[in-house]
C-alpha cells in the first residue's frame, strides 16, 4: 500500500546519509541536535487536524443505519470517550472478545452503524489527501480524550489475562528469514537502530514511554499512525507476513504492552520522526 512512499524514503535516506557522513559533527552533538529537532516539532502537531476530523466523524451519523458512533461503548458506557483509551484493551461481553480501540471501532461501525466489514476496513491506513483514513482520524480523536489520564489496563478478567500471556509469547516469538522477534530490537536498554533510539519494552519505563506516545503524527509519512499500524510495520520490518488488522495477535501484543505501561500518564497523539 505505501510502497511508493517507502521507496522514496529509502532513496532520500541514501543521498542524505552520504552527505551527512561527509561533514557531520561528533556523535554526542548529533544526538543532542536530534533531540533539539524533536523538541522543535512539539509545538504545532498536525495530529490536531486528525483529532478535529475524527471528532466530527465520531459525532456524524454514518453507515446504512445512519447513526453516529456516540452510542459506541468503548468500555466506560455508550458514548463515553474521556479516559476510555487508557483502559483498553479490555474484554467486551457483547462481542465475547478482548478488543483494542481499533478493533472495537470496527465492531461499532459494523454492528451499530451497519457497515460491512469491508467498508469499515476500507482505508485503515491513510495515504495522502485523496485517501484519508477515517479510522486514523477517529482514533486520533478518541485517544486525545485520554491525554493526561493514567494508563490503567486491568487483568481481572481471565480473557484479558490470557491475552496478556499470549502477547508476552508473541513478543519473544522469533521467526522469518532474519530470526527477528520484537525482543531483538526492544529487549535491552540504551540500544538504537541507526540513530533511532529503541525503547526497551521489557521494562516498565520503556513500555510506558513507548505506549503512551502512540498514536503519533509521523513526519516521514505525513500521516497519523495508530498502535495497530505500529505493530503492522514492525512485523513488516521483522520480515514477517502481513499482520491482519485487529487480529488476535495484534490485540495480544497490545494488551501486553498497554498493561506494562500502567501508571504512566497517556500523552498522545504525539509527533515522531
Amino acid at each position: 500500500m505505501n510502497q511508493i512512499r517507502w521507496r522514496l524514503a529509502a532513496g532520500v535516506a541514501g543521498v542524505a546519509l552520504a552527505t551527512f557522513a561527509a561533514h557531520a559533527p561528533g556523535q554526542g552533538s548529533t544526538v543532542d541536535e536530534i533531540a533539539k529537532y524533536r523538541a522543535a516539532l512539539q509545538d504545532g502537531n498536525p495530529a490536531e487536524l486528525w483529532e478535529a476530523r475524527g471528532e466530527e466523524l465520531w459525532k456524524r451519523p454514518r453507515g446504512p443505519k445512519n447513526v453516529s458512533l456516540e452510542r459506541c461503548d468503548l468500555g466506560l458506557g455508550p458514548g463515553v470517550v474521556k479516559g476510555a483509551y487508557a483502559q483498553l484493551p479490555r474484554f467486551f461481553s457483547d462481542a465475547n472478545r478482548v478488543m483494542d480501540l481499533e478493533t472495537r471501532l470496527l465492531y461499532c461501525m459494523t454492528t451499530d452503524q451497519g457497515m460491512t466489514d469491508a467498508d469499515a476496513r476500507k482505508q485503515l491506513f491513510g495515504n495522502g489527501n485523496d485517501r484519508k483514513s477515517d479510522m486514523e482520524a477517529i482514533v486520533a480523536y478518541v485517544t486525545s480524550e485520554s491525554k493526561g489520564v493514567k494508563m490503567n489496563v486491568a487483568l481481572d478478567d481471565a480473557h484479558v489475562r490470557e491475552m496478556y500471556a499470549l502477547g508476552e509469547r508473541m513478543f519473544y516469538f522469533r521467526g522469518g528469514p532474519h530470526d527477528f522477534s520484537c525482543a531483538t530490537c526492544h529487549g535491552e536498554d540504551g540500544k538504537r537502530i541507526r540513530l533511532q533510539d529503541l525503547p526497551n519494552l521489557t521494562t516498565k519505563e520503556g513500555a510506558q514511554k513507548a505506549y503512551t506516545t502512540w498514536p503519533a503524527y509521523r513526519v516521514s509519512q505525513g500521516e497519523v499512525r495508530t498502535f495497530q499500524w505500529r505493530l503492522y510495520d514492525c512485523f513488516r520490518q521483522q520480515r514477517f507476513p502481513e499482520l491482519v488488522y485487529g487480529s488476535d495477535a495484534s490485540i495480544a501484543l497490545t494488551t501486553f504492552l498497554a498493561r506494562n505501561a500502567n501508571g504512566a500518564a497517556f500523552d498522545a497523539p504525539a509527533i515522531k520522526r
Binding site: L17, A21, L166, R174, G175, P177, I193, R194
Partner: protein, 206 residues
Amino acid sequence: MRISTCMTWIAVAAAAVGCATTPSDSEVNAKAAQMLKASFREAGQAKLDRLDQDDTQRTCSLYAGKALPKDVAARIEAANLATIRYPADGKLVGDWKNGEKIAQEGRGKQFSDDPKGPVGANCYACHQLAPQELSYGTIGPSLYRFGRTRGFTDETRKYAYGKVYNADAFAACSNMPRFGHSGILTDAQIRDVVALLVDPDSPVNK
C-alpha cells in the same frame, strides 16, 4: 491433557528443551502458535511459512528473556556450526567497496520489497563499521577496526565468513540474522561483507 501437550511439545520442539517449562507454559505456547497463523496473511514475497520456526528459532523463543542454559546453548551452536558452507574455491574475501553498499542497504525480504532485490545486510542498523558513517546502531558491538584488532589472518577471515553465514554457530540465539544459512545473502555478497571487515584497505580498518 497436560501430559499430552508436553509430549507434543517435545515432539515438535528441540529435544534440548524437553519439559523444562511448566505445562501451562507450553499450553500458552501452543495457543500462541495457533493464534499466530490466524493473525497473519501472506503478502508479496512473505508467505505464511515464515511463521514456521526451525529448532533454533523455537528454542531461542522459549528461552528469550531468561538465561540460556549452557548445554542448550552448546547444542544450538553445534547444530548451526554444522550448517556453514565455506566457498568451494576457498576464497573468503571479496570487494570491500561492494561490502559497504551491502552494509548500508536496508531493503530485502520485507513484503514491501521487490522480490528481485536489492537485498542488503543492513549492518549499520546495528553495528558501527566505517567511522565515516555516523548513523549506526548499537544492537551489536562496534566492528570498527575489526580486522586490525584481530589480525589480518586466515583465522580472522574464516571466523568473519562463518559469523556472517550463521551467527548462531558462535553465539546461540544471537540477535544477528543467519545471512548465509537463511539464504538472505549470496556467497558473493558474504565475501564482500567479509572484505569490509577484514581487508586492510577497508575504511573499517583505517
